[in-house]
Amino acid sequence: MNKNYLQYFLYPSSLFVSKEPYVVKTILGSCVAICIWDKRLKVGGMNHYMLPTWNGNDLASPKYGNIAINKLVEKLLAMGSRKEDLVAKMFGGGDMLEGSNGSGYMIGERNIRMARLVLEEKGIPVVASSTGGKRGRKILFFTDTGEVRHKFLEKKVY
């Protein structure tokens, strides 16, 4: 930590892209965050979506995986990235609800599947990931180095 990073806390259904070196942090449960980093320009961005697919009714916001990933890639391309320089890291998609054994909504699982599908379709390789499981996650993404620091959160009982 020699550099003084600017910080950004990423809220659910939003996304963040910057040319400046930033550290972007977020907290994930069944949500999924995709960090996309440009190897050539050393810039990156992150999204944080809650549900896999847009239902066509609400505003087409990055609350939905298919929209969030497309918009993130679009923003990076608009900043001058080339598609072939992009790499992705994906996190989250935990199974947070008690007693959701297969019969549940499997939101985490479906969120992850959507990410793999869209990234594969775009030809962006997933170079690292930590998904699934039963716990939440805290992640910090450094947009200049592409490094992600990741920690599991202990479940709190309310």
Binding site: Q7, Y11, I27, G56, P62, K63, H150, K151
Partner: protein
């Protein structure tokens, strides 16, 4: 693999058949899903083009009236000042409407771009609600509608409740609800706004005695661009974004909205909004702290 017994062969075949059956089933559900999505998409596209024609009316009409009215004012004789007052009132209401609709559209664009984050401050709930009501004063007076604020919060500093939330978003949420209530009310009626707080959850209910919404339609009013009276002859103006924005904003603030309505008797829109916490799982949203733990994994 060369020498399989009949039994093994049968077993293997069975497994493969089963697998292909499963794959086919999966394909069927997927194609069904795909059809649904593509149906929705085309519907959405139709709504969008409808929206564009709505919105151009929304923007062009007020501008035309503002331009026309101000031109008329410029040519008014000096002793005719009474005429001017009424024209200025019209200009004001057109400009107010324009400003409100534009705010909505810009917020919708921001939500869709993912550039929306709560901006939490301590909000004086009472004065915020009063301000929003006051901003609709001219419209409500013209329609003869009384807006009755029932403020049922007993505690707080001089009965002023300071509540951690996002004031701009809350203002827009309330404006949309009140605007709708006014729009669908009959002349010379009233609107009741009830405010209460329970367990750090703020409850605001906006009740009107207007046209009401049938049960079937209650489900679709939150969808974007959807308007119940979207015919070309519809009396009411609007772009059909208000409630979907309201819902998306409440999403950002962790809140919720419910409707209680009967056709012909009016509707009540109730929002519940939890007090915002600055801390999210041990670290603040905007503080300058980064904690590096030794047990951080690095990817």
């Amino acid at each position: 693999m060369s020498n399989l017994s009949d039994r093994q062969l049968l077993k293997e075949l069975k497994i493969r058949l089963e697998a292909s059956k499963k794959a086919r089933e999966e394909l069927q559900t997927l194609s069904k899903e795909y059809q649904e999505v593509s149906g929705k998409l085309s519907e959405s596209e139709a709504l969008k083009s409808h929206f564009i024609s709505n919105i151009s009316n929304e923007i062009v009409n007020p501008f035309t009236s503002i331009l026309g009215l101000s031109k008329a004012i410029l040519s008014v004789e000096k002793n005719d000042w009474k005429k001017v007052v009424s024209m200025v009132a019209l200009i004001h209401s057109e400009a107010f409407n324009l400003d409100f609709q534009l705010k909505n559209i810009f917020v919708a664009a921001k939500i869709e771009a993912g550039e929306i984050a709560p901006n939490i401050t301590k909000v004086n709930i009472r004065s915020l609600i009063q301000n929003v009501i006051d901003s609709f004063n001219i419209v409500s007076r013209k329609m003869g509608i009384i807006i009755d604020l029932q403020y049922n919060v007993e505690y707080g500093f001089g009965k002023n409740l300071y509540f951690k939330s996002d004031s701009e978003k809350l203002k827009l949420i309330l404006s949309n609800l009140i605007n709708n209530a006014l729009k669908y009310s009959y002349k010379d009626s009233k609107i009741i706004i009830k405010v209460s707080i329970e367990d750090d959850i703020l409850q605001i209910a906006v009740q009107d005695f207007g046209t009401g919404i049938s049960e079937k339609n209650q489900k679709i009013i939150f969808e974007r661009f959807k308007r119940l009276d979207s015919g070309i002859n519809s009396i009411n103006r609007g772009h059909g974004l208000g409630l979907s924005i309201t819902k998306a904003l409440l999403d950002v603030l962790d809140g919720d909205i419910t409707i209680d309505s009967k056709k012909g008797e009016g509707s009540t829109f109730s929002i519940s909004l939890p007090e915002a916490k600055n801390m999210i799982e041990g670290f603040s949203g905007e503080g300058n702290d980064i904690f590096f733990d030794d047990d951080d994994e690095i990817f």
